[in-house]
Amino acid sequence: MPAESSSHKRRNQWLILLVVVTNVIGNVALGHGMRQTGAIISASPLDYLHAFTNPWTVAGVVILAIWMISNLALLSRADLSFVLPVTASGYVLIALLGQFGLGERISAIRWIGIIAISMGVVLAEETPSRTTPPQPEEQP
């Protein structure tokens, strides 16, 4: 595999940022909306339509759709075994937002978790983003 160019790496880093931020905001909005809606246990998608009357749920779904598109774009450019750990930085972001944004207390064990995830992100970032042969470039 040829060495990764700096522009390829920079674009991947922007995509990773987009994937992480949309995943965090989308899940927080969705979780907030679902708690307001109440319990749903059903095999029928129709029963979930009621949840879509909640604006938080709708916002969460729209933001997670953006996450899906950006994640597919990232997976077209990088290995799954690279994408998985580097996008885990979202957990650190949620915990730090809770601590500094909402005043939640982070226990010592949670801090160890944050450090472990951060070390995992850094370790994965040091590997080449792609180890499989690239397909011909996609032209619009």
């Binding site: 246990i41 075994s81 226990s107 949670r110 995830i117 995992g120 994965a124 690239p134 397909q135």
Partner: protein, 123 residues
């Protein structure tokens, strides 16, 4: 209700793993998205609708999504964490053996550290 919660955790882990592996296989066959301009992204989305791997992957992630909606309606977000931790190990294994990625010691260490960290965040 605890049994239902753990069944949902299992469904989320299995469907999420299948979805990510299928999406990666499909997007690698489709070719790299060069930039995030509206034209490029629009073209990628159109091609996705003809890509059976990605369609199956999105189907699996949809199952995972509805299972997550159910879980979030009866349990706190932290209850979904074990499903995520299992997925990290399983997906890294499948990335090596199915997607044929070069998963060396660093990537295994990264996936393991993240999975441990995700579990510790529950405390």
């Amino acid at each position: 209700m605890t049994g239902v919660r753990w069944a949902l955790v299992g469904i989320i882990a299995a469907a999420n793993t299948a979805g990510d592996v299928l999406n990666t296989a499909g997007m690698k066959r489709q070719g790299e998205v060069q930039d995030l301009s509206p034209r490029s992204v629009g073209h990628m989305i159109v091609r996705v609708f003809h890509n059976w791997y990605v369609l199956a992957g999105i189907g699996a992630l949809t199952v995972s999504f509805f299972a997550l909606l159910s879980l979030l309606s009866i349990a706190p977000v932290s209850f979904a964490i074990p499903a995520t931790a299992i997925s990290y190990a399983l997906e890294t294994f499948l990335a090596k053996h199915v997607l044929k990625e070069d998963v060396g010691a660093r990537r295994w260490a990264a996936a393991t550290l993240v999975a441990i960290g995700v579990v510790l965040l529950q405390w």
